[in-house]
Symmetry: C2
């Protein structure tokens, strides 16, 4: 049973969920895989590259969710909620995704999809890019703090997140290009 990048990635996700980002080490991962530390470096060039792959996998889980056939604010909200859900489903997932060094294919696909949806709504390329940026920055900022201090109950943080998302969406709706509310 040979080691492959997907096998290493899978074990990395499991380890992350068990010990968190601060407890995650290549040596623990090697032990889990029944292999010496150095072996990992044949499949991934560095710990950071491996963590980037984990981050991209998490975003990939969000990509699996379908976007409803609805108006653009609802579509955008569903994409944002899907990514938040995927991040919260893994220990320190938000911090991992938000501080990922180089975006992988799933991350690019997710952001392209969000931008595309906003462009469909009538925003020009520049505006769509900036609007997608505002949404993801709010999401990242919120989720990182939410996951760092798990002081409130999930239902409570969900409501607060929804409030903020509605605020951002209201702001986007007020932009000249989308005030018509096309599609």
């Amino acid at each position: 049973m040979s080691l492959t990048p997907p096998v290493v990635l899978d074990a990395a996700i499991t380890l992350l969920d068990e010990v968190g980002l601060d407890g995650f080490s290549t040596r623990k991962l090697a032990t889990r895989l029944g292999v010496r530390v150095g072996a990992l470096y044949w499949h991934y060039p560095s710990k950071q590259a491996l963590l980037d792959a984990v981050a991209d996998h998490i975003v990939g889980e969000a990509n699996a969710a379908a976007v409803p056939d609805d108006a653009w604010p609802e579509q955008a909200a569903s994409m944002i909620h899907a990514l938040r859900g995927a991040m919260l489903a893994h220990a320190d997932g938000a911090r991992l995704v938000a501080t990922s060094h180089t975006p992988g294919p799933s991350s690019r696909a997710w952001i392209d999809r969000l931008r595309g949806l906003l462009a469909e709504a009538g925003m020009d390329g520049f505006t769509a890019e900036n609007a997608a940026d505002v949404l993801t920055c709010y999401l990242n900022g919120y989720a990182v703090e939410e996951q760092a201090h798990t002081t409130h109950a999930r239902a409570e943080t969900d409501r607060r997140f929804g409030f903020g998302l509605d605020v951002v969406l209201a702001g986007l709706r007020s932009l000249p290009a989308t005030s018509g509310g096309a599609r």
Copy 2:
């Protein structure tokens, strides 16, 4: 010349700015202070506590800026810009502040001031708290990513940040309690 918490904190800030958060270690800090590693633990209980103190100091720099006597969106914008400036003025300042474990006195003062300003504008306590949350989450999300991938020029990221901040403020302005535009 004895070691005191402020002296340690000062050296920590200097070290952080020189080597960044990933390069920051208690051992390097001890060397700079001409002391053995263990000595630091007399003044700070852990590396994290020290980093939290650094984070709080950065927020303190933002608190030094005066808030203009203007309408609330301008006041909020000035506070947000001040904190972003303070974070960007230090290596990995955004990540450090956003992932700080326990908020210090300056952090509490900053958020209280922002909430107060929004309450003055006519928001009830709950709304003001949530509104301050949206603003800081957007700020943290944006600044963390901005500082992680310094791909664009500062003038460009400033403009993009301003765009997003205007969107959030527009969303907040559209809330029932503030649509009158009091103060």
